[in-house]
């Protein structure tokens, strides 16, 4: 056992680890809730980077199936869930989205671009499907090949090729195909012609290709059907087609931009075919899925649950109001144990749980005691000059023994309708401690202010904090474990057994991780503006929460907009959509408390940024109710990088909360 090795150094499990490592690290925890992904029917799999999307889609790949067998590990899918062959295309690396970078001399001019895009996808996927069959034939043991009834001897493949070539879907391009290898070389030639055209190595797409453009999805369906009818794959084996990087269709640049919606409509058309032999799997980042455009060449739109099933990993993994339905802790626990096992740091599977290493986390009272360790009571509570001396004295005495209760008592006295308390000091139990929800909703804000008043940084530690800061993202979770483990390795000179890591050391690792993830915003496309937006928003929220001495707005670490408003404003819609797509903001439906009852949506910063900005990560009470104009100004500020500005004067949140203060009533620091 090598305890000194950090078992969390490898962050990614998906396309970035080798297949043999994948089989060790793959966690089957999500399989029970994502079963639809492995059964016939189209599926859209939504999730931000790190949600586990690539990990799940990876199971469809033939090389992963082969790796399981070679390592002697049982494939995590069984029975009808394992009866599939996967093929696919990555829209970016294949260059499919590069159509449109060059004008076409075809009869339809640039209107023919989506036809070529679809044709390219068809040929690419059919070729990949044939290669998948060969990989399984050559990579699996004979017993396994027999068990899935795969027959791919050369004479059968030749017969298949000759019959496939006569299918009408090719419009004659494959006429005269003599063998399987001839078929494959024709496929490669056609795709290479396209690539040569895209790279300006030839002047035009060959005429024969121009005259034989295929309809999206048709050749894939016919190939799958023929593979069954000639007996290469059995009747009950389904063909799954992965389409990766769908979100790139939202980010096409410059003159190319116009093709994004058209390309999406071509993909929609494939999903709309509802072919019994072929199902599509679309992996896409959270908010990059929008099925409102019509399918290519029709006025019809895709219908959820009719044309496809949606698996929203973000929604599934992020904490819901009912914690009992939250599946992320189990997933994280399994990943944690697998990492330790792979690093040979546990003798038995499942013997070391998160709580063994991190503990549950300090209680509110323990946290407060830590912040107040060297503070005088006068620092912990602030009294108004006009408060009676008896009340002031009471608060100071309470602060010495129970700082949290004292801070809540101070807030109670500052709230409308409760101010009379200063004239009659209560006996325990105090009303602010007995009003369960009032207290619960304000605890985190109270702690934040106590820490600030005691000149301490609020800290996060323990299993619960780690899970909540992960925000349902397994990559963030592993990253937190990596940095906490790293901090522990730095602090322990003698290491002989599995650690129980102190809260103080955990706090260091969590702080490092938070700053790292804030810096990582820059790594993604368009990250500078989003990072400035986050800094601007977080700094302003921090300032406002800090100044809320009555603890009236503990939910103002989030904001809410009417759905009508933000969807009708393209700039705000696009910016917020991108922020959610890159995992910078989290969005949720918001049940309005306004009389107009209009549907609303609310946004919060990714909780992993909370330690960096010293903001409570818990979502409680009402977020800020904003107008779309307010968010416009924030975006302006993010682009302009002016944080203390005009905005302060011009911005007032309004709708419905008469006492809600403007977010930027006070000057905030330049980020």
């Amino acid at each position: 056992m090598d305890i000194k090795f950090n078992p969390f150094n490898e962050l990614y499990v998906g396309e970035t680890v080798s297949s043999s490592e994948f089989v060790e690290l793959f966690s089957p925890s999500l399989l029970p809730v994502t079963g639809a992904l492995f059964l016939p029917g189209n599926v859209v799999l939504k999730g931000v980077q790190g949600s586990g999307k690539s990990m799940l889609l990876h199971l469809l790949r033939p090389d992963v199936r082969i790796a399981y067998e070679r390592r002697g590990i049982e494939f995590p899918l069984a029975g009808r869930y394992a009866r599939f062959i996967g093929a696919g295309i990555n829209l970016t690396t294949s260059n499919a989205i590069a159509f449109g970078q060059r004008s076409l001399k075809d009869w339809g001019g640039d209107q023919a671009v989506p036809l070529y895009f679809g044709d390219f996808i068809n040929y690419w996927i059919v070729l990949d499907l044939l290669q998948a069959i060969e990989a399984l034939r050559d990579g699996l043991s004979r017993a396994s090949v027999r068990s899935i009834n795969l027959r791919a001897d050369s004479s059968l493949l030749d017969r298949f090729a000759q019959r496939l070539a006569t299918a009408k879907c090719w419009f004659g391009f494959l006429d005269g195909t003599s063998s399987y290898s001839d078929l494959k070389s024709r496929f490669e030639r056609r795709l290479n012609d396209y690539l040569a055209f895209i790279n300006f190595n030839i002047d035009d797409i060959p005429e024969r290709t121009q005259r034989t453009k295929t309809l999206i999805g048709e050749p894939i369906s016919q190939t799958a059907e023929l593979l069954r009818s000639v007996g290469i794959i059995p009747e009950d084996v389904h063909v799954f087609v992965r389409i990766d990087q769908f979100e790139e269709l939202f980010r096409l640049e410059g003159l190319h931009k116009q093709y994004g919606p058209v390309y999406r409509s071509v993909i929609f058309k494939a999903l709309g075919l509802r072919n019994p032999h072929v199902s599509y799997r679309l992996g896409t980042r959270g908010s990059a899925w929008d099925d409102r455009s019509p399918m290519f060449g029709t006025a019809s739109r895709l219908e959820r649950d009719r044309n496809y099933k949606l698996i929203d990993l973000d929604e599934m993994l992020r904490r819901q109001e009912n914690a009992r339905t939250w599946i992320f802790p189990k997933f994280a626990e399994d990943v944690f144990q697998r990492r330790l096992r792979l690093a040979r740091q546990t003798p038995e599977p499942g013997t070391v749980r998160l709580v063994r290493v991190f503990d549950d986390g300090p209680t509110v009272e323990q946290r407060a005691q830590t912040y107040c360790k060297n503070a005088r009571p006068e620092s912990i509570v602030k009294s108004d000059d006009d408060w009676p001396d008896e009340w002031k004295k009471f608060l100071l005495q309470l602060a010495a023994s129970d700082p949290v209760s004292a801070r809540l008592g101070e807030a109670w006295a500052r709230q409308k309708d409760k101010r009379d308390i200063v004239n009659r000091v209560p006996a325990p139990p105090y009303p602010w401690d007995t009003k369960k929800y009032w207290r619960k909703e304000r605890l985190q804000l109270a702690l934040m202010q106590i820490a600030a008043r005691c000149s301490q940084r609020i800290t996060w530690a323990g299993r619960n904090d780690i899970l909540e800061l992960s925000g349902g993202n397994i990559l963030v979770f592993v990253s937190l474990c990596q940095h906490i483990w790293g901090a522990w390795l730095r602090t322990e000179p003698e290491i002989s057994q599995l650690p129980k890591i102190s809260y103080a050391v955990q706090a260091v690792g969590i702080q490092e991780t938070s700053t790292l993830w804030y810096e990582k915003i820059l790594e993604e496309a368009g990250g500078n503006t989003r990072q400035r937006f986050v800094a601007f928003l977080a700094t302003a929220m921090q300032k406002q929460l800090h100044d809320d001495s009555a603890l009236s707005y503990p939910g103002h670490n989030g904001f809410s907009l009417s759905v009508d408003d933000y969807t009708s404003d393209e700039r705000v819609f696009t910016f917020l959509r991108d922020c959610v797509m890159y995992g910078v903001l989290f969005d949720f439906p918001h049940t309005t408390k306004l009389k107009d009852r209009k549907p609303r949506r609310k946004w919060y910063l990714n909780p992993i940024y909370s330690p960096h900005f010293r903001l409570p990560h818990v979502h409680t009470k009402e977020p800020m109710y904003l107008r779309v104009e307010d968010v416009h100004r924030w975006i302006d500020e993010a682009y302009l990088h002016v944080v203390e500005p005009s905005l302060a004067a011009s911005f007032r949140t309004t709708t419905g909360q008469s006492e809600q203060r403007g977010l930027f009533d006070t000057k905030v620091e330049r980020s």
Binding site: T16, E188, N192, F200, E523, A525
Partner: protein, 337 residues
């Protein structure tokens, strides 16, 4: 030099004096907010070198917080150009995110009108343009002599130089060439100042390929601090790449090209490039990638700081440091594999 082809490079005046009077030169340059963007043109005018069809591109970036400052500096630069005398092909505005076709058309039109002697000034030209420009110019048999020039600045801006990069994508004309392309063996990264999106790029290649870095050496202050920060961004996941960076002279295209030849076993190993480093090293990558049909990927920033650089570095003789590389001479390409 023994056993190797001679690839002349040096200061512009010295190179022109050595290659003799070949006739007038057509210049393709890029007018920008940087002082150095006009250094070559100013030198040619001042030294009464014969010029024929020449043109500048002016790359329009997307609106940003720097837009006002950019407009102001560009106005000054245009005034300066007017005073020097505008090129007969004028200044042509092109959007930064022009389609591949628009970029190719721009350079093809230039080639059509240009004299067989061409100077391509890559000083202020984004890689998105100069890579395909080199590709097309070398494809043309009309162009008999090609010099590439790069003017060193007096200083770089201290803060962030570029922002809001796009997702990693191949540069125009440097995309995958074949569907059955062999697996990539090696990724070569030019070490620069800003590793925009680079860790994610490499993450995708992890476990599959070797990663090697070309480190500009000697970097000299303050560049070395930024170069090492760049290296640090790779340290954790690519200790091998970081442990043994290949030191190359930041201004020596020929040396960088030869190092790439060695690293790729004279092109036998399939390789992808990430040109994040100095322009001359990127130029070497461009020349090599063109010859071997290698993919070049880059995270194109959408915003450049208007004072990315200021001033023009001067040599001991007081002349601007216009580094000049002979790429083709008398119809013969000097860079080959």
């Amino acid at each position: 030099m023994l056993g190797r082809v001679c690839r002349p490079s040096g200061n512009l005046g010295w190179i022109l004096s050595k290659i003799g009077d070949l006739g007038p030169w057509s210049v393709l340059g890029c007018l920008s907010t940087e002082d150095r963007s006009l250094a070559l043109w100013e030198w040619l005018v001042r030294n009464a070198k014969k010029r024929t069809h020449s043109e500048f591109i002016l790359v329009k970036s997307e609106p940003s917080r720097f837009s006002d400052k950019i407009d102001q500096l560009l106005a000054a630069r245009k005034l300066e150009l007017n005073q020097l005398g505008r090129p007969d092909g004028n200044v042509n505005e092109v959007p930064l995110f022009s389609s591949d076709e628009a970029i190719v058309n721009r350079v093809d039109q230039f080639i059509e009108r240009a004299h067989p002697n061409v100077i391509l000034d890559v000083t202020s030209m984004p890689k998105r343009f100069f890579f395909p420009f080199i590709h097309r110019i070398l494809r043309s048999a009309r162009i008999q002599n090609l010099l590439a020039t790069y003017t060193s600045p007096q200083r770089y801006h201290d803060g962030v130089l570029a922002e809001d990069h796009k997702a990693l994508a191949p540069l125009p004309l440097f995309r995958t060439q074949t569907v059955a392309a062999p697996k990539v063996d090696l990724v070569i990264i030019g070490v620069g100042f800003m590793p925009l999106g680079l860790p994610d790029f490499l993450e995708k290649h992890k476990h599959q390929v070797d990663v090697r870095t070309l480190f500009p050496f000697p970097p000299g202050p303050p560049a070395f601090q930024r170069n090492w920060r760049f290296i640090n961004a790779l340290r954790k996941d690519y200790p091998e790449a970081v442990k043994d960076p290949v030191r190359v002279d930041a201004r020596d295209v020929s040396d960088a090209f030869d190092y790439i030849k060695v690293l790729t076993e004279n092109g036998r190993l399939r390789c992808e490039f990430g040109p994040f480093g100095p322009k001359p090293i990127s130029l070497a990558m461009c020349l090599f990638a063109r010859l071997t049909a290698s993919v070049v990927r880059y995270t194109q920033p959408t915003v450049y700081h208007p004072e990315y650089t200021t001033g023009v570095q001067k040599g001991n003789d007081g002349e601007p440091a216009i580094n000049t590389y002979v790429i083709r001479i008398g119809g013969r390409d000097l860079y080959s594999v």
